[in-house]
Symmetry: C2
Subunit: 251 residues, 2 copies
């Protein structure tokens, strides 16, 4: 499985992804799921991917070939993030259709992407692109998008993400969300990649990779665990309500 999250705040964008790919019990391998598609003077585009590894690689190959052979449209010529999402969606749906014909389980061939970035002169954005090719864009009400094993890491994002968070804090929230997911689900694992796109310094991408024995990641997880245990120990005691006697037998 996979867990990827993208968060949009006032200062910029933060992306985080795990690297564990599980193609059956004997084939647990490491594949990065974060790919910078274009980083040029007028645009920065990054892709997070979840789902069938064959489909995600086929989608990326097609995108790369369109660029390399200058086929139209391609990532250098599309004028807006929304049109990039549309382009990515149509390739995704096409690749899925192609292989689904040969599969008994249609769902097994699907891939889901988070696309993020900025095209010069326009607002930055993050998009979730579905296997069907349609997509949604994050908004101020929904400032983060997740793909893969997204539920374990959602409560902490719901509690802490807001537009005014600094990029540093946003990256730490993303790492805590990743830590929660890894503790609860063994199919999500390191290396963990974090990418910070600062709106005011768009040329200075900050890209961090945390391996399985990374000191910082371990220290962050340990600190968080300690704080949570301490917070828990000072919660208000249960209300001193009278002990109710339950209905003896159901109904």
């Amino acid at each position: 499985m996979t867990y990827c999250v993208a968060i949009s705040v006032d200062e910029g964008l933060v992306f985080a992804s795990d690297s564990r790919t599980n193609a059956g019990p004997d084939q647990v391998s490491v594949f990065g799921k974060m790919h910078v598609l274009v980083e040029e003077a007028d645009r920065f585009l990054v892709l997070l991917s979840a789902g069938n590894l064959g489909t995600t690689q086929a989608v990326r190959t097609r995108i790369r070939h369109d660029l390399e052979f200058d086929r139209q449209p391609n990532l250098r010529t599309l004028p807006s993030m929304a049109e990039v999402a549309e382009y990515l969606g149509s390739i995704n749906a096409e690749q899925r259709r192609k292989h689904a014909e040969n599969s008994e389980h249609d769902g097994a061939m699907t891939a889901t992407f988070v696309l993020g970035g900025q095209i010069a002169g326009r607002d930055p954005g993050i998009f979730l692109v579905y296997p069907e090719g349609n997509y949604i864009r994050a908004s101020s009400q929904t400032p983060f998008l997740q793909i893969g094993e997204s539920k374990y890491g959602k409560p902490i994002l719901d509690r802490l993400v807001k537009a005014s968070l600094s990029l540093e804090d946003t990256a730490r929230v993303a790492l805590i969300s990743m830590d929660a997911t890894m503790r609860s689900n063994v199919t999500v694992g390191p290396p963990i990649e974090v990418l910070i796109y600062n709106l005011r310094k768009p040329r200075l991408l900050r890209h961090m990779v945390f391996g399985p024995d990374d000191d910082y990641l371990r220290e962050l997880g340990r600190s968080w665990q300690g704080y949570v245990e301490k917070a828990f120990s000072v919660l208000p005691p249960l209300p001193p309500r009278p002990t109710e006697l339950l209905r003896v037998v159901d109904e």
Copy 2:
């Protein structure tokens, strides 16, 4: 949807459940999902239910009728918790089969249960009973069982549940797990029921119901939110690693 959790600790058992049932966009209603099946001198049996409401009600009706008409086996005569789980599983699988024939979507008719309690002279236990009728028992390595929308509330259980927790602390962990689930998923909602079974005082069940505007539940959620925000603000800063320049285009 539903979220129910049962936790087994040295001092006893704690059960928590929500009450929201969603049978389509127009039919969001309130149904308790915690049912004490038997509370007699020699045994205490409680059931948490998730899944198709028709199936869960049919299962409970059948259990009640077996008791009422003294059909064998029934909950008063079965000699162990494992045999009660087996009995519940066979009824569950039977009810599912009966209605699945008339449904296009087999999965839509399934129900999943958590069974908990104690029969005099034997260890207490909690069991998860699947739609197929099979079941698993919680152990010291896996001291809690969840049904329904279980992923949102799992990280906090993974972090905090251990055999030595007091019943009071265990109930608060269950409520925090419920709070996380309700914040992240609108299909899980109050009233929240909590039931505490104290091994040393088995006749003194503590049953609490927290409505949507319950002061304690709100205070607990607010305190937890405050502590989490505070904990987050003192986490170690991101490592001061050199900003890496990413490969410009994928591959």
